[in-house]
């Protein structure tokens, strides 16, 4: 018998039940023990769970809430801020665009001018993903010296009516300088942040895509690892 995944079907469907011929693009970093984490965050650890009988396999997973490709909610920074289970699902399955900012240097601040042209096609309430290409340094020391959003760039994003700002880097703030203005300005306006994206270079800048950034349904947590997908 053939394997279902190798037959026709699965994927995204139209109202008539026909396959929408769109590729699903994975924007997520793999989660594994030797992956890059934010300095001081819990180190991910997997091991076979104790007491599971042959031939079954179950893994025990230890992971931080902001590990790998993940969402941050206001409670990540603001006392009393909303947690990840307090949002409607439409905040996580939404249209959006990629803004490409090529030629960035280590710990460089991204200016308002570098993103403003790219915002033209943003649907109201959509996601803005900033492509720095820093995902190429994943698992290297340089990954920590990523570019970050200047206060002026953040204010531009706030004015664009985006509901979610993502980046293919460890942090939307500067990790080197330990800034917090990006998270603070965005969270105070209930704009979510998404970090450690990858493969943004597979999307066309300015084109509107459908994204899925669904968090797990953690009760009362500040963040969630996610499987980020575009089509």
């Amino acid at each position: 018998m053939t394997v279902p995944g190798e037959r026709d079907i699965p994927g995204v469907f139209n109202e008539a039940g026909g396959l929408v011929n769109k590729e699903l693009i994975d924007l997520s970093q793999p989660i594994e023990p030797e992956m890059t984490v934010f300095p001081g965050d819990p180190i991910p650890h997997f091991r076979p769970a104790d007491g599971v009988e042959e031939p079954w396999k179950v893994a025990e997973i230890k992971i931080g809430s902001a590990t790998g490709t993940h969402f941050d909610c206001p409670s990540h920074l603001l006392p009393g801020g909303k947690t990840v289970d307090r949002y409607p699902l439409a905040r996580f399955i939404l249209p959006g665009i990629v803004i490409s900012v090529p030629g960035l240097e280590d710990d460089q601040a991204i200016s308002e001018a570098q993103i403003s042209n790219g915002l033209i096609n943003l649907p109201e309430g959509g996601a803005v993903l900033i492509q720095t290409n820093w995902d190429q340094y994943w698992k290297t020391e340089r990954y920590l010296r990523h570019p970050w959003l200047s206060p002026q760039a953040v204010w531009k994003l706030v004015g664009s009516k985006t509901s979610l700002v993502g980046m293919d880097a460890l942090n939307v703030d500067s990790t080197v300088q330990a800034t917090d203005h990006v998270h603070r300005i965005l969270f105070e306006r209930d704009i979510l942040t998404l970090e450690n994206l990858t493969n943004l270079n597979r999307l066309q800048p300015g084109r509107v895509y459908q994204f899925s950034f669904l968090p797990l349904r953690w009760v009362g947590l500040d963040a969630s690892p996610i499987r980020a997908v575009a089509w």
Binding site: P4, L24, V52, I61, G68, S212
Partner: protein, 223 residues
Amino acid sequence: MSTFFDLSQPLQPGMTIYPGDPVPSFRPAEGIGEPWRVADLHLGSHTGTHIDSASHYFPAGKNVDQYPLSRFILPGIVLPLPGLADDQSISAEQVLEGLGQLPKGGAVLIQTGWDQYWNTERYLRHPWLSPQAALQLVESQASLVGIDALNVDSTVRSTEHVHRLLLGKEILIVENLAHLSALQPGRLYQFSFLPLRLAGLDGSPIRAVAWEPGSLIERGENA
């Protein structure tokens, strides 16, 4: 009207788990500078609403990171089976009746109503698929079988035939679904059962979601 249907159980300490599985615990991570908050999470690969890959039962089977994404974002139907009793086996006839609308390679979600017993002792005594029902699902060319209960096999009797028959044919399994009653039986929905990209693992907790088929962008429902 809500566009999206959340089919996931909440993840929290004290939640129902499979007997013997790792006990979930969440606590504030140590050494995080004020005012940041980060949680240290500890859970099993099959905790809460989750997906099983073939390596959950077959040592050489595929891990959850070895499938194309289209195996997890797919169309499918809900199949309601009202009136089931504790530890009752579901027959091939009960399954067959609802399979008419299933697209080839789609998902079949078995609605037992057992999610109402979540966090009670009765949740462990859920209905399960008979070998004939499992074979019927294989024959229907489903690529994923989900259930709103702890297990597609019998937990009371520790059976293995459903996992063996389905995972042996590379049919994925989703367990601990919730709120299937919000969906219309036999109607085609778009589902997302995306796992985390856990390297080399046998399963993953998921956020299971359904929505009406069609382009979300063109319908402007996210705007």
